[in-house]
């Protein structure tokens, strides 16, 4: 068995994080209501991974998933506890929106991306605020100051055409423009741009077996 204790511990931690995110032990409720939810699938894959070890040949995909989640959490670093997992988001309405949006299979990863960028800005000591107002961008930085900046986070799904990025920029631009009179809202970003070409390019061949 080559699954190191470090990786195993991280898997358990991520299982606990997922449960805390949804306040749902074993994600039982989520799985019942939405069996194809990405978080449910991730939970099952992690469970399988912990139970069966690193199973050739899917180790890259599983490890990618684990580290991607780890990268997400590297900026907000919340240890799951009995309390509200999302309590680290000060804006109560934004917190509520995050909690609701992650239940939607189509919005789960998008929402995590928003939280990641908001947390990233916090880590960079920026006064960023995660918002919840419909039609407005996701984040405002230095609100109320002359350097106020709005940020919109868009996630382009794997396999989409690179042209999709152009559309996304246009859409983000409109949202930012609508944020007037809180002006100069000039930040938009796209997370997880993994075109199929890029992904296949990065897929390396790993050749090892485990028992």
């Amino acid at each position: 068995m080559l699954l190191s204790n470090t990786i195993r511990e991280e898997c358990y931690r991520q299982l606990a994080v997922l449960e805390s995110m949804f306040a749902d032990v074993g994600l039982a409720n989520l799985a019942e209501n939405s069996p194809h939810h990405p978080a449910v699938q991730q939970y099952h894959r992690l469970n399988d991974f912990v139970r069966s070890g690193v199973t050739y040949p899917d180790e890259v995909e599983v490890l990618r998933e684990i580290t991607s989640a780890l990268l997400d959490r590297s900026v907000w670093a919340v240890v799951p506890s009995g309390a509200d997992y999302w309590a680290f988001i000060p804006n109560v309405n934004a917190r509520k929106r995050v909690r609701e949006n992650i239940l939607d299979p189509d919005q789960f990863n998008d929402t995590v991306a928003e939280v990641f960028f908001w947390s990233w800005l916090h880590e960079q000591t920026q006064a960023a605020e995660l918002l919840e107002e419909t039609g407005l961008p996701d984040i405002v930085i230095a609100p109320g100051t002359h350097t106020e900046v709005w940020a919109e986070v868009k996630r382009v799904r794997l396999g989409k055409s690179p042209m999709r990025i152009a559309e996304v920029i246009g859409k983000a631009n409109r949202q930012i423009k609508n944020a007037q009179p809180r002006k100069q809202v000039l930040y938009s970003s796209v997370l997880n741009v993994l075109s199929s070409g890029l992904l296949s390019m990065m897929k390396s061949q790993t050749t090892f077996s485990r028992t």
């Binding site: 890259v60 490890l63 580290t67 990268l71 002006k183 000039l186 796209v190 741009v193 390019m201 790993t206």
Partner: protein, 280 residues
């Protein structure tokens, strides 16, 4: 994206950060394997934004890496097979040479090769002329990526009845192949050799001829050593990727003779440069 951030477009978007996850794998056969998963980003500023973005560029530059290292179960495998690390599925295994050649990101994953072995589109058997044994050429069409290709495998029987896949190559379509190579393994091999084979000289009865592939031939050598063969073939300096030399054995006699079953040399740099064009 550059056009979208031109003077007349999207002026409210003063800065665009595109972030993505990728990974690199660093490994050597028999050594540990390290996965480095990275979150990276590129930033583009609008040329004429409605207002300047008052954030230092480094604030929005996403760069983070997580590395994971895993050991190879080399000992256990060697004990089991007696022939170095191998991976198996059913009656086929992939061996160390396969793993070494395919360890980089452009290689073919062992599982894909093993699956192709068990579900081929076509198989070509070459029976050795100078002794027992055979070589299989196996093809399978791979359609999962945007750029379809024909996977060509080279396999040999093992003493235990299984087959070892020693080589695997990607053959992307060109104007001549029309995506039909997977029906014809020998033709696929010939295409491989014509594209990526290293020319060498062959002393035929009519004099030296330059060829890229030789099978079922006897050659007289000055000394009974592989180097003598290489010298005879006039291989250029730097050819270090001998591939699919299914059998070269030297018959000890008054004049050492080399019996060649199947011989060609892969220009590995050209091969990798070519297939990487399709993988980008």
């Amino acid at each position: 994206m550059e056009r979208r951030l031109g003077s007349d477009f999207n002026r409210s978007a003063g800065r665009v950060i595109i972030s993505w996850d990728d990974f690199v794998i660093d490994t050597e056969p028999g050594q540990g394997i390290t996965y480095a998963f990275r979150r990276r980003s590129v930033t583009r500023e609008h040329r004429q934004p409605r207002a300047e973005v008052c954030l230092p560029p480094n604030v929005t530059q996403v760069e983070r890496t997580i590395s994971i290292s895993i050991d190879w179960p080399e000992e256990a495998e060697e004990k089991r097979t007696g022939h170095g690390p191998r991976l198996g599925l059913g009656s086929a295994v992939v061996g160390p040479s396969f793993r070494e050649f395919n360890a980089s990101w452009d290689g073919i994953r062992p599982q894909h090769a093993l699956e192709a072995f068990h579900k081929p589109d076509a198989v070509y058997r070459y029976q050795f002329r100078f002794g027992d044994g055979e070589q299989l050429l196996i093809t399978r069409r791979v359609k999962v990526t945007r750029q379809q290709f024909t996977m060509l495998l080279v396999a040999h029987p093992l003493a235990d009845g299984r087959h070892e896949i020693s080589d695997a190559y990607r053959l992307y379509d060109d104007e001549d192949s029309h995506g039909e190579l997977h029906h014809h393994p020998m033709a696929a091999f010939e295409v491989l050799v014509s594209r990526y084979g290293v020319p060498f000289s062959f002393p035929s009865p009519s004099g030296l001829v330059m060829i890229k592939f030789l099978r079922a031939a006897r050659l007289a050598l000055s000394t009974a050593s592989p180097n003598a063969l290489f010298r005879l073939l006039g291989l250029p300096e730097g050819v270090d990727a001998l591939s699919s030399a299914a059998r070269i054995h030297t018959v000890q006699a008054a004049t050492p003779t080399c019996e060649i079953e199947w011989l060609w040399f892969l220009d590995e740099k050209r091969y990798r440069a070519d297939i990487r064009k399709y993988l980008r």
